[in-house]
Subunit: 175 residues, 8 copies
């Protein structure tokens, strides 16, 4: 099946983070394509893969990069498909390098930036599903159910806490 | 005509920025609705307007806020429509307050964050158009043309510069 | 006994921090209610719990959240009870995301922000006790005693240091 | 009438900011005392004024300071009354100096920190009113009305915007 | 004469800064080519111009950009010529966006980053001259003389100050 | 009379700031020498002037610099006299460049860093006076009087405020 | 023997850092007094100890604190002795809280701030020795020797590196 | 063989980082000289070694330093050879101290700053090779091959990922 989403990571060291995206897309049953390609090391291949993605019916591109994270912006420069950027955590500069490199795009070439690291990788999948869901009622329904499950999970934890108290709850967290 | 995009600003002091969004949407011929509503001052109204937006066929929500910029996230909590967040510039804290408040959403509730201030307001419109364009070929064509015009404008400036030289060009900028 | 303080955490991962609050409130004998509820995942439940807190006689609300920490502000939007916000430490962005999201509230809707992490969780309890103590002389006395004990503990350490010297003191710290 | 609130500013250059506090307290009819006193230049006087405030029936202390803003913390060290800290904007270091100096108090000695500058000065008054309102039903009613008025003001702006459109609204902002 | 240096600015709004580069190169008699080209708006043209620069004998490329400043890195991805990056000042985020976007390049694709704004534009020219000077003894001599003049200018100011005193010197600065 | 203090500024653009130092030293009657010398532009001259300062009886060196502010550290590397560093305000990077460059000296080579800009320039003079005062009882007495005057000035403002009220005081500030 | 230096730490958790100060002072044979005292928890004791320090002949005060690090400034407010501030490392906010709280003192009340953590604790001792050395030629000679030894240690490492090569040197570092 | 590149590290603790530079230079067959020398601890030796480097035919100087990283700038002050600066990671202040100290050089004295830590150490070698390659066609060819290999390595990973899928790839990363 043709991918609806094409994901780019700048390096294979980003895979343990982007797996949050792929797992969530699988849960939603959204076909995707995953590529390792670097804006700085393989610029031609990035362009080729973007063109290929446009042709194979990709609706949304997700790009994940660290440090001077040019990948999402470089992709956005090549397409009019919506591009979602996921900033990688870094051990230096408080992670501001990847966040600011991705979000501060000049007028005309947007990147839809989500939160840093694993939360962002998960949110990239949800955001992509929300976009595709605009013309796919069954997907939109799944999103509504996912949102309810998310809420329910919080409520269940709250109910458990009110039952067992914070001391027992803390014990159970350690296990 | 029913709005395809609903825009929220947290305060009327954000209007001189968000006008970049509305002008661009008008250029693309995308109908929109614009509201002033505050996550902290009118929380109920925000919820009502989001529900109303869902009902009137809104496809994308754009929310613009400053300081502890809860508005985009609070809207995202209420809907499975894609929500785009525009951080307002602030005179304190280097603007990090609105950017980080908007972008750092927890897993499950994404906000598509764009750049700060006027560039971001413009990009919110483009991003929304890209999303709507996924099921509207004529809009997608307009986006491609807009992208070409943007490129052409840079090229024309480059050509002018090579003709007149930097000294004359700088003179013309002052005029 | 009706709670005088209602505590909200955005996620059960905040419990190991907020336990500093609950332990301190227990020391002061102040009844409290503890809830897990998320501004972004369970917005309705947050509102309901705030209304319930107002009805059950809660005097002060404490809210603890990380990242784009909307919870304290969203609660403050729903009540005229004093709301204390505790920013959670995060591994990214030097923790500025939760601090700035909580403290930079717009005019009219204050959140009383305390320090980040465990110190803040402890201080939220003290601040709540100071507020309740305004109409509870016996609690205010306990606060004065707590303050004296805190001072005494520092003085005792100083006396010990002057007796044993820094070398032995450092040894004793390691044990 | 005895002051219910004692306000400290570290310098008379803070008065144009703190006037937001005094105006709001006057609106609420809460008697207050305003002092200029510096943690670094008049430490004894700060102590004396805090002791005097405790004796004259002050319920809440508000302290406003810039740069290495020790004033709120130094006051908190001397009293078990709730202390609200207002960080002054500075032209250097993005204002982080006053914010971090005020908010990052060690365990046991809280300062209730509000937002930076004029918003914070206004919020300090509201927060103080919320605290005093806990034992003053008529004040609490005023707070609820103030909150409604705040909401109404946003809604009225929204209604006006929907009537006149953004172009006319922007014109009216310039006037 | 063939250019030894090719300069790229991302926008014509960068010209008032980059003029520091061109004036300095003219002083040193180094022929250069100046282009407006944007990594995000005209990615193909950037590549073409880099290839052209390589062919026309360019030794060093200077690239100047603001915000999510991908231009220097995108150029470095296309060439093995040394690339010097000049971060533009921005009014938001303390300028960290352009600095971090330019300097934090991944291993293998360096950008030689200089200081922000006009100082950096001047230094880009000097650095380029130092590089070209390695195989051009007369240029290297000019650099040594420039360095002496720079020192002499400081010394002359010091001599003037010791003669006229700070009061008169300050007066002369105002003129 | 031989200077007790030698002051270095990295550029004559720092003179409007350092005049706070010279005026204060004059008030205390402490003879000083003022030099313009740059760590990066006139490194030899800096060394010579430091050696000269050591010989002419200088007790304390004050150095003021901006951006990559190497001057205080480079001086500290050449002498065992106490060196006070004053970070200049900058319009970029929130001023963190000069502050961090000056304060973060490696073990063994301290620079006594004071606050940024005019406050720091004043404080450099006071700190130098405190150091020299250790062996000059009359100077130490002047410092105590200065401290009292500083306190008195705050107290007088407080007295004035309590007399005229904030409204009139604010009017008087504008004049 | 009377202490020439009085050291304050805000908490016994600072002792593993301040031991760098005490070890260095012992090497220089400078008698010192070490106290645990907190600006926020034991404000009276801090004042008393400062007065005591002034009477017992202390020449320089060193104060070390973390977070909202008011201790050095509060001490400086009470004395005209030179006060050296050592910012403690913190795990949050990149350590900016303690650094900015200590260094950004208002005009008239300087704190001589040194680098963060262990380097700063060592440098506080050296700076104190430099100050005391102004009237103690034998101490000044020791400082000069210490500086030479520091240089020699670097040179010896450089000689070793040139002999064994980086590979063997790296091996020896691991041992 | 005479070194073409002279490398300076400020401390032997920087050797585990700079080894990325030396390994890469060895790969390219570029002779280099490696020195430990400190701007603050051995300023004379730094000068001597720079003069020696100029005489022995060094083309490019690489300097690596942490904290208040004056070394690259101090070297740049002594020579008209291109100087490359590598900021060391630090555990405090998010690493901004070394980055800003190195990059923010005043007009006239550039330092070519590369990324922080190991990526930067690698990039310093590549940048130096690019500079030397300007007059050494065989080196330039090696750089082009290196760039191709870098691209090929990314492409091979992408091919592997498309073959084995993310699950197996993640397993292989752990091994």
């Amino acid at each position: 099946m043709n991918p609806k989403i094409t994901i780019f990571v700048g390096s294979d060291s980003d895979l343990p983070v982007i797996v949050e995206t792929t797992k969530t897309l699988e849960e939603f049953g959204i076909p995707f394509q995953l590529n390792i390609a670097s804006a700085h090391r393989t610029p031609n291949r990035v362009r080729d893969l973007v063109k290929k993605a446009e042709k194979n019916g990709t609706k949304v591109i997700i790009a994940c990069a660290g440090m001077s994270a040019a990948l999402p912006g470089v992709i956005a420069a090549e397409t009019t498909l919506p591009v979602i950027g996921v900033p990688m955590e870094g051990k230096n500069l408080a992670g501001l390098d990847s966040l600011l490199s991705i979000v501060q795009m000049p007028g005309g070439i947007p990147v839809a930036t989500v939160s840093m690291g694993k939360s962002g990788a998960l949110n990239a999948a949800i955001l992509a599903a929300e976009i595709i869901g605009l013309s796919d009622p069954s997907l939109r329904k799944k999103l509504a159910e996912h949102k309810k499950k998310l809420a329910l999970s919080v409520i269940n934890k709250d109910v458990k806490l009110s039952k067992v108290g914070i001391k027992s709850y803390l014990e159970s967290l350690k296990k």
